[in-house]
Amino acid sequence: MTLLELSGLRAGYGGSVVLDGVDLTVGEGEVVALLGINGAGKSTTMRVITGLLDPSGGRVVFGGVDITHFPAHKRVAEGVCLSPEGRLVFPHLSVEDNLYLGSFHPRARPHRAESLERVYALFPILGERRAQKAGFLSGGEQQMLAMARALMGRPRLLLLDEPSFGLAPLILEVVFNTIGEIARSGISILLVEQNAQAALGVAERGYVLSEGRITLSVSAAELSSSSDMRTLFLREIEETTVPAPVSIESKPAAVEAGLDPEPILQIRGLHRTFGGLVAINNLALDVKRHQFLGVIGPNGAGKTTLLNLITGYYAPSAGEISLNGQRIDGLKPYDVCVRGVGRTFQLVQCFPEMSVIDNVITGALFARDARISLEEARERVRRPLELVGLERKTDVLAGTLALGEQKKLELARALATQPQLLLLDEVMAGSPHEDVVELMAVLRAIHAAGTTILMIEHLVHVILGLAQHIVVLNFGEKLFEGSPDEVVADPKVIETYFGTPTNK
């Protein structure tokens, strides 16, 4: 029986049309994947189903009731619950209070205790951290909280928008197993996901959305084998060895042979606690000049905290951080930037009301002690914008870009600061397979041009394909470091991070 039916759905923002007649159904107890490139309209579809955006045409029918113009809270009461893109947990509330809010409506409230028990069984880490403020959770843990919060509403239809965002491989497996379990308990699921392989592993059917229309609607098995799909979305194992563009050597021989022995970044005895919780514990780390360093580790290992410590967003509780031999711990982010460090953020932080080009110009204008003119800045941002492939969207407002594009914009903005050391926090997240391959080539080019890169990434094939050296963090400590080959062979790393032995 059909639970959700979208017919001829049209919607957009301001004057622009994003959905141009979408037809889609989700059956009772069915798992359906909604796939498509960035900007295809997937998140917009989710917004219309949940009532956060009013459609300009078409109908949304849920359980036989026309809910097209129901306000959002009434839809939740009907059983439509969303785990949104970008998590949107309430950072100042405790984990348990976040979950309580998930069961706010009268239909779910009487079952609160029972639901709570169930989500803690699904996500034990949330049970352990129930009293902590959600803002202190790591990115991956927040993702779990967002899903758990949606489940607290006793959904008949669970909408998951990019549930794999920011998840370590081990947890990714757990989460997708959990999605399977949820589905088996009779809840219908509509899944938006860039990790098509994972999505099609649990989904029965899939739709491909392109330019606001459904262009393909088939069973998951057919979708996986369809040749278009393979080239467009699926992450294949061969990718590990994607050849770099001819002009760029993936690991320049000169650099490989003689990495400057003097590290560009030197970290000693670094320590940081948050309200009794140790996030970084006595960490020592060297980043050599011209190195491409990968940092991996389970969710909550302290990877993003490390970047926040380097860039001055957090002050270390103890320890030293030196850049080019000069101490930078205790400096403010703007001073760290002026000394030649650029970064992107795990959750995108572009300036939504500014155009794409103005975002990047801001990066070019202030990053050096010597100010440059606006004309010069305008000239300088052309190259970064071309590199990330946004040169044709320069006048678009940043806030209207899809998540993956905003990530690229942040990369361009960081590049415009002309950093010696570039820190990347899951810059590939939210990008479909095709873009990931392109972005890998871009990062190789940036590295070959002399920029030192420190990259946090959960896409295993990306980090193994790019990094010369990998550091594995766990509980804020260095668990292991070595070459990519050594990392994938280490039993400790396999156990804590990859989950299953990997030959990728």
């Binding site: 004057g15 860039t311 967003y313 403010k332 982010p333 703007y334 001073d335 760290v336 930037c337 002026v338 650029g342 970064r343 953020f345 932080q349 572009c350 300036f351 939504p352 009301e353 500014m354 103005d358 110009i361 801001t362 990066g363 204008l365 202030f366 990053a367 050096r368 100010r371 606006l374 800045a377 903005r413 960081a414 415009a416 600061t417």
Partner: protein, 296 residues
């Protein structure tokens, strides 16, 4: 002078031009994410600085405006330094407290400010209302010119970035405190100028008038009505708000009902033109262009 035909016209011009200055000044701070609920503080210190220096030293208006603007700028810079990283509602409350604190100080220091009884400008220093109007108009034009010039510099980028996300802006090398001090000093000087000129028109100032909450509210109505964060919006909004309030007063009399109509008109405008009158005009313009392009 042709525009000085009647006292009423002078009154309109002075009110309208001072509203434009206040709106432009408030909008300038708001464009960097600094929402002020204490613009009367700048206006008030401007009024007092102009009157006190003039009376002590026998300065004419144009000269007395220099200390007024300096004090206004100093107060703005000081506010930026004291409030540090306070943002949003916390910054707004701090500005409200500043204005209220200054009012109390003005009441408590009668030897200096005349206290609650207020203070008169030395009658010999007063000038004709048409001169006051002319100076206020020149001030309004200069304040518009200044914000236009700023909009063509790198400051424009820093302001918008700070408004959107001050934390992320820092990673691009934007040092927020520099811009906060700069923008609040400038906004403070503008509002203090308006306060200084206005007191010459009335000839009298007391703490209640100088640090009146209504000044703060009027400063925001212009940008909200005309189009916040834009160059033209605050100017249109300020003129429109004066027009509305005068029209309501003339048609319905000074009391009660006129104010009600004025209030309703404002609320309707804000409700149905969320980006202000100027935003509505721009929207109509793009809509029209799209229609024309569609027909071709």
């Amino acid at each position: 002078m042709p525009f000085a035909a009647t006292a009423v016209v002078n009154d309109w011009i002075i009110t309208a031009a001072s509203m434009v200055i206040l709106a432009v000044s408030w909008n300038l701070a708001a464009s960097a994410g600094l929402i002020s609920l204490g613009h009367s503080a700048f206006w008030g210190v401007g009024s007092y600085a102009a009157v006190l220096t003039a009376n002590k030293l026998g300065l004419p208006l144009v000269v007395a405006l220099i200390p007024a603007m300096l004090i206004g700028a100093l107060l703005g810079a000081l506010l930026a330094l004291i409030t540090g990283r306070l943002r949003g509602i916390f910054f707004a409350i701090a500005t409200l407290a500043l204005s209220e604190g200054l009012r109390v100080i003005a009441v408590m220091t009668p030897g200096f400010t005349g206290g609650g009884e207020g203070i008169y400008i030395n009658p010999e220093l007063r000038i004709g209302a048409h001169w006051v109007a002319a100076i206020m108009v020149v001030g309004a034009l200069i304040s518009i010119l200044v914000t236009w010039m700023i909009s063509r510099t790198s400051w424009h980028f820093a302001f918008r970035a700070m408004r959107a996300n001050e934390s992320a802006a820092q990673m691009l090398g934007v040092r927020p405190i520099t811009f906060r001090v700069g923008i609040l000093a400038l906004a403070g000087a503008m509002a203090a100028f308006a306060g200084g000129v206005r007191v010459w028109y009335g000839g009298f100032i007391d703490p209640g008038m100088a640090f009146d909450l209504q000044i703060t509210i009027l400063a925001q109505i212009g940008p909200l009505l005309g189009g916040i964060y834009t160059l033209v919006g605050p100017v249109i909004g300020a003129l429109l708000s004066v027009l509305l309030s005068e029209a309501a007063r003339i048609w319905f009399g000074a009391q009660g009902f006129g104010l009600l109509v004025y209030g309703v008109a404002l609320v309707l405008c804000i409700l149905f033109l969320p980006h202000g009158v100027w935003g509505g005009v721009l929207q109509l313009w793009t809509y029209g262009r799209r229609r024309i392009r569609g027909k071709q």
